[in-house]
Amino acid sequence: MRIDRRGLLFGGTVSAALVAGGARKARSASPLKIGLVLPMTGPFASTGRASETAVRLWLEERGGRIAGRTVELLVRDDTGVADTGRRLAQELVVREGVDVLMGFGLTPIALACAPIAEQAGKLMVVTAAATSIITERASVIVRTSFTLPQATLGIARWAPKNGLSSAVSLVSDYAPGHDAEKAFEQLFTAAGGTVLEKLRAPLQSPDFAPLLQRAKDAKPQALFVFVPSGVGAQLMKQAAERDLAGAGIRLIGTGDLTDDDILPQMGEVAIGTTTSHHYSAAHPSPENERFQANYQRLSGGRRPNFMAVGAWDGMELVARALERTGGDAEGKKLVEAAKGLSWTSPRGPIAIDPATRDIVQDIYIRRVERGKDGELWNVEIDRIPAVADPVKAGLVR
């Protein structure tokens, strides 16, 4: 075989092209796959819808890229059932090869998926579920939502200082309700308040009337309520019918009670309800104004709620952690990079506690008021800065 100049030139060009092509491929890398496990249908579909919208909004604003890598989003519907969610997470890992698992609308689903993420060594970002223990179930879990005791701490500390030193608690009879009841009693008592009575309502088709009557008879200054989002409206209506406000009883609770997603439809009865939470759609900041406007555009006029902001910050967390690792999405490295991150979210300043991988954030005291636009809003009236999960801090046992 004769080697002539043309042949050499040709061969050289081809190999140079191959090398260059290979290099380009390595630089732009494969897309970053994010698997979203959320309830998209069934009773908790609103959680899934809000979270997905926020994630899509985030991607839209960043041109669909994280740390230079294009993002491929895989949305899976867990229907609110734990074993389904677990299988979907498993399939996302083994079949789709996702780099990050995100979402998790309900505590049992997050708990069921934790071993999968741990075993596969993938970062698991919990953007919705709020039971304190979740982050302790796997070393690869980071949370961007909140914990229920964290949200409770706000109102439990604020109330005694503001003339509400006796309270009755009323919660739904299931694990998160029990957690809220316990957290409220301990934190409220520690802040100088007294819990006169602890009431529990059945989770399935509750009738609050007899319980509200008992609460009224106990003559507290405040009634602390925790019920699943959506049931709150019914409770407030019954509270208004019994004229709790007229008896001098203030309705207080965590922000689930006046969820921004459904607050506009709650009507007059909600006005005056005072809650503590980490996010209000009425939070006055440029970040939130922008988030609010864009979210409404993408969702057809719906307000962003705490589920939406949790998912938004989930994406922000992945982006910031990935920048720190230089694009390496290996689970352990991402978790290490996520520890200690802090940024200004639409909800306000937040940080990831390096010790617990849980979120540290300001908790706001908000009162439902009618805004200038004639709609109902959770207006922030006070703020407790940098609250960590009280359970992990040993404040609630």
């Binding site: 734990a82 708990l111 009879d173 694990a175």
Partner: protein, 344 residues
């Protein structure tokens, strides 16, 4: 023995053909499951988690088939036994008893005993009251499990379940291989048992009772005893299916006792066709695959399309998919017969 022989007579030849339940058909079902499953393992090695899920649902539907399709007991609370099995298997593992096979057996036994006790409630009254009793039983257990949070973990579920490798050899893996072959083995065993049962004098007596309880009684069949045993067995099998789910997912939550699960399994059985074992398996496969496919096409609206599919199916095949297949086969045979007739 006498009552069982009379039972054989009570089920007339015509009905036997209608059920299509001669023993070879049952063996055929075993082969179909085994070949289908091995084909899945070979061609879709990354879909084993879904396949295991289908097998568990099939086993659960088979247990309901014994209760509804054979004994004719309408149930809207079959998840009570499934969930009991799941919690028994889960709690045993949490208490330190991590051997899977004995754990599964315990799940079946406890659920079976519960089924035996519950069956005495079901002997009174007919379909509508049975519907109410089973529905109530399911809801009571669900609420009891929610209340007994110290034992069941309430709404948070049982976490941290660890199961030893099966026979000390096969550890549960992320790809779901062990879960799949474990579920497959258990399902095949259960089908073999059910095929044997369906063709036994006991199974024939059950079908006689379903066809006409009064006549079966006149023929000397102890109706109550048969129903109690059938319900106990069905509950036990449901418990084993629940135990399988708990062991393979290593998690148990209140969902296992939810009404939705009872409704879903009833739907699966009716979709496939009750009373012939094939239906439960076909229904589980079709339902899960349709769910998966539709949910991957439209993650928000798949429930609508699944519902539409079911409505159409019920309109055109009121006996389920196996009923439809039988009708088609029958029509083809008739047409073939008609074509041959003029020439002969």
């Amino acid at each position: 023995m006498a009552d069982e022989r009379t039972a054989e007579i009570a089920v007339s030849g015509a009905e036997d053909r209608a059920f299509g339940l001669a023993e070879p058909a049952g063996i055929g079902l075993l082969w179909a499951i085994a070949l289908g499953a091995l084909g899945t393992a070979w061609f879709f090695p990354l879909h084993l988690a879904l396949a295991a899920d289908i097998l568990i649902l099939a086993l659960f539907a088979l247990s309901l088939d014994l209760v509804l399709g054979f004994a004719g007991i309408v149930s809207l609370g079959h998840a009570a036994f499934f969930g009991t099995g799941a919690y028994v298997a889960g709690l045993l593992a949490l208490a330190g008893w991590r051997e899977p096979l004995s754990g599964l057996l315990a799940a079946g036994v406890v659920a079976g005993l519960l089924g035996l006790v519950a069956s005495f409630l079901l002997l009174r009254g007919r379909d509508l009251s049975r519907l109410m009793v089973t529905l109530g039983l399911g809801m009571m257990l669900h609420e009891a499990a929610n209340k007994a949070a110290w034992l069941t973990g309430g709404a948070d579920g049982l976490q941290g379940i660890r199961i030893d490798p099966i026979a000390g050899l096969f550890a549960f893996d992320l790809f779901g291989r062990t879960a799949f072959f474990y579920s497959l083995s258990v399902t095949l065993l259960a089908v073999a048992l059910l095929v044997r049962l369906a063709t036994s004098p006991f199974g024939l007596a059950l079908r006689a009772i379903r066809a006409n309880a009064l006549r079966a009684r006149l023929l000397g069949i102890d109706v109550e005893r048969h129903l109690v045993i059938a319900h106990g067995l069905g509950a036990g099998l449901a418990g084993i299916a629940g135990g399988l789910l708990a062991q393979t997912t290593q998690f148990v939550s209140l969902d296992v006792l939810a009404f939705q699960r009872s409704a879903e399994v009833l739907l699966v059985l009716l979709l496939g066709g009750a009373g012939n074992l094939w239906g439960a398996v076909v229904g589980a496969v079709v339902f899960k695959l349709a769910h998966e496919t539709l949910a991957s096409i439209t993650v928000h609206y798949w429930t609508f399309w699944l519902g539409a599919m079911l409505v159409v199916l019920v309109l055109f095949a009121s006996d389920g998919m196996t009923g439809l297949a039988r009708q088609l086969a029958h029509r083809m045979r008739r047409r073939a017969g008609a074509r041959r007739a003029p020439g002969s």
